[in-house]
């Protein structure tokens, strides 16, 4: 199941949460609920800034060590995006429920897996950002993220954006990169076997997806490269999702 379709998102899907979002792309569907700023527990309270609490719930079973790691990655990234210093002694809670993961008929699938799941990180981060926007939590910047793999095919190296589970299994290295809307690298995760040069190529490919601005720009880039290597324009997607939501909400005017 490769990412042939465009990402989809819906904002404010849950009636009771302050903000929520549902995002699906490349076989992953994640729902986020965001509450905040709310009162923090005494142990989490910070005198100068808000505490960002991220909870990741897997599609099946209960969260294990892998989910704790994902939570700590997201927590440190989101704390950089949210203006935490505006809300001292408060808590901003982000709950991410994974609803669907892509099937992989080629692999033994186990319920509890301890190793880090790279392709789920962009899905979780995108959903969290959309949820925070829906909850109108003040943020310094938004973030976009993507996953890329370096695969060897017919004796040549190739960077595959949004790899399928089968490509992931055969990949030499897998990379997750996230950028803020100021084009800064906020999160980088890589594993496998690669050189600095390969990482640079991956960085270029990821920056192209995450850091493009404007619809016109995106269209020309698509035409030049063809749809083979070019993934979706994540920033454009984020903008259009919010524009559509604002337009729908202000329809009565």
């Amino acid at each position: 199941m490769s990412a042939t379709t465009a990402p989809e998102a819906a904002l404010s899907v849950l009636p009771r949460a302050d903000g929520s979002a549902k995002y699906s792309y490349a076989g992953y569907t994640v729902t986020a609920s965001v509450n905040g700023p709310i009162e923090a527990q005494r142990k989490d309270e910070h005198a100068q800034e808000a505490y960002v609490d991220v909870i990741v719930r897997p599609a099946a079973g209960v969260g294990g060590t892998r989910e704790r790691h994902l939570e700590s990655l997201l927590q440190s990234s989101l704390s950089q995006l949210i203006l935490v210093k505006n809300f001292p002694r408060m808590l901003i809670q982000v709950v991410l429920q994974v609803e669907a993961v892509p099937d992989n008929d080629y692999e033994n699938t186990k319920l509890v897996q301890a190793s880090l799941n790279f392709p789920i990180i962009p899905a979780l981060l995108q959903t969290a950002v959309l949820g925070l926007l829906s909850a109108v939590v003040p943020m310094r910047a938004t973030a976009t993220s993507t996953v890329a793999a370096v695969v060897f095919q017919d004796g040549a190296k190739r960077v595959v954006v949004d790899p399928s589970p089968k490509e992931l299994a055969a990949a030499r290295s897998v990379h997750v990169l996230a950028f803020t809307s100021h084009d800064e690298l906020i999160l980088a995760e890589s594993e496998g076997d690669f050189s600095v040069k390969e990482w640079d190529d991956v960085y270029d490919a990821a920056a192209k997806i995450c850091c493009q601005s404007g619809a016109g720009n995106a269209d020309t880039a698509m035409d030049l490269d063809g749809p083979v290597n070019a993934g979706p324009d994540m920033r454009q997607f984020l903008n259009s999702t919010l524009e559509a939501k604002v337009a729908a909400d202000l329809y009565w005017k």
Binding site: T65, N108, S115, R140
Partner: protein
């Protein structure tokens, strides 16, 4: 009457306002001499790691062990191997022909890794002992830090491929060559895969002073290099693996490459400012005080064993200071660290090598 003094000793200042304390030591030289190099609170230069001490084979009941010490971070790692018969693996999928697989290098490598992962042959566990640092309290479930480090070690063990599955397979060779009647001769000649070794890799932090992942990973690699699996024979009558007790017959577990982890944190000049404004320092091998003050951290795992530098894993979280250029530069820093860690491992190996030669001599003269 003496007026009460308003000067504090350094330790009090460090506790009361740690951020200005660290900033002050970085911006001014310690004794106001001519030196202009910034110094950290622990007396190190920003890019100076703590000296590493490695001691292997200190646990007598483990198949391999290592004690790693970097400053006040001390971690002990023990590797214990246990037999896992294939009959007790759920969803075991036997490979019928290993020879055919061996032809396609890429496919074989992929299958080997999948085998390690599917049957859970590597089981790392990390414990931050009560009292190793003040924040770890007794009687609580494993902290987020312990779980995070455990996931990272597990991912890196599988991602870097330091342990090959070949060394963990246990074969039944008892019927090789024996041609039983009525059975196809072709099938009988091949050894049969009957069990795997499962490696339980337990890490215990005796003392914790920052940078847990580097220390933990160094301990894992050192312990795996030290691991010797006992001689094993499959007893077809009992349907069980029988291990020999003679230590000199034990086979060293082959470890591929030498991946070395190198971590740093980013210290920002402005405690409450926007990220990215003001000066910043990259502090290599941070201690507990520095980790508490810095949000952004970078870890790069490199392996220069083949002459060429290969990056095996990278993690950068919690900030926007480290961009593309700094990541590139940091790989160079990691290369330097790799040489130091290799030297520390070899130094330990030499000490043991001398002892090993002595034991061998004593054994042969008997």
């Amino acid at each position: 009457m003496a007026t009460p003094s308003l000067t504090f000793p350094r330790s009090v200042f460090a506790k009361l306002s740690p951020h200005p304390y660290l900033l002050r030591t970085l911006t001014t030289s310690p004794d106001d001499t001519t030196t202009t190099t910034p110094t950290r609170t622990n007396g190190r230069a920003p890019s100076e790691p703590r000296p590493l001490k490695i001691h292997t084979s200190s646990l007598s009941h483990a198949h391999g062990s290592a004690l790693v010490r970097a400053g006040d971070t001390t971690v002990i790692c023990g590797v214990r191997a246990e037999i896992l018969p294939v009959t007790s693996i759920p969803q075991y999928r036997p490979v019928t022909d290993y020879d055919a697989l061996a032809e396609d290098e890429e496919e074989k490598e992929r299958r080997d890794r999948a085998e390690l992962k599917d049957y859970d042959l590597l089981v790392p566990n990390i414990e931050l002992a009560t009292g190793c640092a003040p924040q770890f309290l007794p009687g609580v479930p494993p902290s987020t830090l312990a779980q995070t480090v455990s996931t990272r070690v597990y991912s890196l063990l599988h991602g870097s491929g330091v342990v090959g599955v070949e060394g963990l397979r246990v074969w039944d060779t008892s019927r090789v060559g024996a041609t039983a009647e009525g059975v196809d001769e072709e099938e009988e000649e091949k050894p049969r895969l009957v069990a795997y070794w499962t490696l339980y890799i337990d890490l215990l932090f005796v003392s914790y002073d920052g940078n847990p992942f580097d220390a933990a990973w160094t301990a894992v690699v050192a312990a795996l290099r030290d691991t010797k699996l006992p001689e094993v024979r499959w007893d077809p009558d009992r349907e069980a693996a029988v291990c020999g007790s003679r230590t000199e017959r034990a086979k060293a577990l082959g470890v591929r490459g030498l991946p070395v982890a190198c971590s740093a944190v980013v210290f920002l000049e402005k405690e409450r400012g926007e990220p990215g404004e003001g000066r910043h320092w990259l502090l290599l091998d941070p201690d507990r005080l520095e980790e508490g003050l810095c949000g952004e951290a970078i870890t790069v795992v490199v392996d220069c064993e083949g002459g060429e530098t290969r990056v095996r894993a990278m993690e950068k979280v919690g900030g926007v200071v480290v961009g593309r250029e700094l990541v590139r530069g940091f790989v160079g820093v990691a290369e330097k660290r790799w040489k130091e860690v290799k030297a520390a491992m070899n130094m330990d190996g030499q000490a043991h090598g001398a002892l090993g030669a002595f034991v061998e001599e004593a054994g042969s003269s008997r």
